[in-house]
């Protein structure tokens, strides 16, 4: 552990050729969303930069992000974990456990103070001093506090770490929220998604690892190269949207013909992610392609925006806002008509009174 090797050195040690190394760098460049002219910089970084130490901790979550991560195809998750980063601590992917494992974490935090990358999955449970999420006998808030202090940069993987996730849905019994407020102002890269796309997860950690800086972020702290576009604007069904051709139900002819799922509540027009261009499982498919409307899983608060299969929320038997609005407008119209009649009656009474007063004014 004394001298950390670079990616190139790791390749040499394993007996890979220079050609293999360069091919790996080409793959890295493209998966980080960089243009081809950044290739020489990637090679340079891979030759000289020591492999970054990564501490990967898990909070209030389902570990579904890891399920996604291990399915990364380019690069393979195993390549990332075994040759591209020095993964020193991970609740889920580690063989070790118990006291020695926790002691190792403390050691790593001390030894690489200010240098390691902290990857966080899962929300912070804040209610009742955070007792709803414990590991190693401590609350997750304690662990996050400890690990965030010495981190060079923090990657928030998944909608839980970024925004609180499904457990933050109303009424949010565990007081869950994203990690941003609990890391003491350290730079945070939000990689939302439930789960995020595998190649996006590996791409972001490789960017931080190779360049030592966080990738260009948007206003919400998300890497622009992966979250810069709406799914709607990259969707292969967009022409059907523009032409006004929509599936009305899940089993009609439009649905079978692959028309736009907008009327079935698709959140593509509100969702920023790479599903439309990267797609999932090495470009095989993504929810909309398989006929399911996007539920906007990489959006803050998507869990409270039910129903996922409609464009507007419904209020039991009353219906949605269009029905309420029509009723309200009709009631207003009837109301003003009634008011008009009452006003005329009132004016006539007033005029009669005035006339009476004028006629009999002198006699009072």
């Amino acid at each position: 552990m004394e001298k950390r090797e670079s990616l190139w050195e790791a390749y040499l040690r394993r007996g890979f050729s220079r050609r293999n190394f360069l091919k790996g760098c080409v793959a890295l460049t493209s998966l980080m969303g960089l243009s081809a002219d950044m290739f020489s910089k990637v090679v340079e970084a891979a030759e000289t930069k020591p492999l970054p130490v990564v501490v990967w901790i898990h909070g209030h979550e389902c570990t579904g992000c890891d399920e996604s991560f291990i399915r990364s195809g380019a690069p393979l998750a195993s390549d990332v974990v075994l040759t591209s980063i020095a993964l020193e601590y991970d609740h889920l992917l580690s063989a070790a456990c118990g006291e020695p494992f926790e002691a190792h974490l403390d050691e790593v935090i001390q030894k690489y103070n200010g240098q390691y990358i902290l990857a966080v999955e899962g929300a912070v449970s804040t209610k009742d001093n955070g007792i709803y999420c414990m590991s190693g006998g401590h609350t997750f808030t304690h662990l996050l506090d400890k690990a965030a202090k010495g981190a060079a940069a923090i990657i928030a993987y998944g909608s839980c770490a970024a925004y609180g996730g499904i457990q933050a849905a109303k009424p949010n019994p565990t007081g869950s929220s994203g990690i941003k407020m609990f890391v003491g102002g350290k730079p945070v890269v939000n990689v939302p998604g439930c789960p995020p796309i595998p190649e996006v997860m590996t791409g972001v950690v490789m960017h931080v690892a190779l360049f030592g800086t966080v990738p260009p972020l948007d206003g919400d702290g998300r890497p622009k190269q992966f979250y810069g576009n709406r799914i709607h604007d990259t969707c292969y069904r967009r022409p059907f949207f523009d032409a006004g051709m929509f599936a009305e139900t899940f089993d009609d002819a439009g649905s079978k013909a692959g028309w736009c799922l907008y009327k079935l509540g698709c959140r593509g027009p509100e969702t920023y992610n790479s599903c439309g261009n990267l797609r999932w499982w090495q470009g095989m498919s993504y929810p909309i392609q398989s006929g399911a409307p996007c539920i906007g899983c990489s959006n803050a608060n998507f869990w409270d925006e039910a129903p996922f299969t409609d464009r507007l929320p419904k209020y039991d038997k009353v219906g949605d806002v269009d029905r309420i609005g029509t009723g309200l407008a009709a009631a207003t119209a009837v109301g003003v008509a009634g008011h008009a009649v009452a006003s005329i009656v009132q004016r006539n009474q007033r005029d009669n009174l005035l006339e009476d007063e004028n006629e009999h004014g002198g006699e009072h």
Partner: protein, 230 residues
């Protein structure tokens, strides 16, 4: 029966042409924006099974919505210019003056049919407050509208200027909801406004409708707030 000409009347010049043109642009804009907005939320059934031959494309409806929205926003230049050059374009709700509240109560009691009449105004305090409310609703529509429109490219200037709206509301879907809900409130306002204006015109002799065409009210009585034009 007395003829209209027998009554001695005074002319009050209130609204500049800029405000009047703005007003009528707003009327048309709100109607078009509301109609196209409903169609965007719930598009009509497809009229063809070939994209090339669809009659009413979503693209067209959206383009109309966006175009009219830009025209409406641009028309605020007229409103602001009139506001600068003409006192009659500045009939605010005078929240900072004590009599505003007592007069509001008086007008409200009359509208609730509990009082036979209220003191005459060029623009009564309740109407003033409701117009202030309309501007707030229009501002919400503009902010949420651009927050959705410009986010096709969040890194550009438009995304920078309006993207924060989505952050404040929690998510972009919420921005859609707010935009849609407030649109309905504006329509409810419009129905009430339409009625109250006709009522003032025909029952109280206020010259309300004609003033939005000619800019003038020709009144037999002396309105309580006439001094605001001096």
């Amino acid at each position: 029966m007395k003829s209209v000409k027998d009554v001695k009347r005074k002319e009050y010049y209130i609204f500049s042409p800029f405000l009047r043109i703005f007003h009528w642009i707003m009327v048309v804009s709100i109607l078009v924006l509301f109609g196209t907005g409903l169609l965007i939320t719930k598009p009509m059934l497809a009229s063809s099974t070939e994209p090339t031959f669809t009659m009413m494309s979503m693209d067209l409806v959206r383009d109309i919505h966006f175009l009219v929205a830009f025209i409406f926003c641009a028309s605020f230049i007229l409103r602001i210019y009139g506001f600068i050059i003409n006192k009659g374009d500045r009939l605010f709700p005078r929240f900072w003056e004590g009599h505003f509240y007592s007069e509001t109560v008086e007008v409200a009691l009359h509208y609730m049919l509990l009082k036979p009449h209220h003191a005459p105004f060029l623009r009564n305090p309740l109407a003033r407050a409701s117009y202030a409310g309309l501007y707030v609703m229009v501002a919400i529509e503009i902010l949420t509208g651009f927050a959705m429109y410009f986010m096709t490219n969040p890194s550009a200037v438009g995304g920078f200027l309006f993207g924060w709206v989505n952050t404040i509301l929690g998510s972009e879907m919420m921005t859609h909801y707010v935009h849609h809900y407030v649109a309905w409130l504006i329509i409810v306002f419009a129905i009430g406004h339409f009625y109250m204006v006709l009522r003032a015109e025909f029952m109280e002799g206020e010259g309300e409708v004609s003033s939005m065409f000619s800019g003038k009210k020709v009144l037999a009585h002396v309105p309580k707030d006439a001094n605001e034009l001096d």
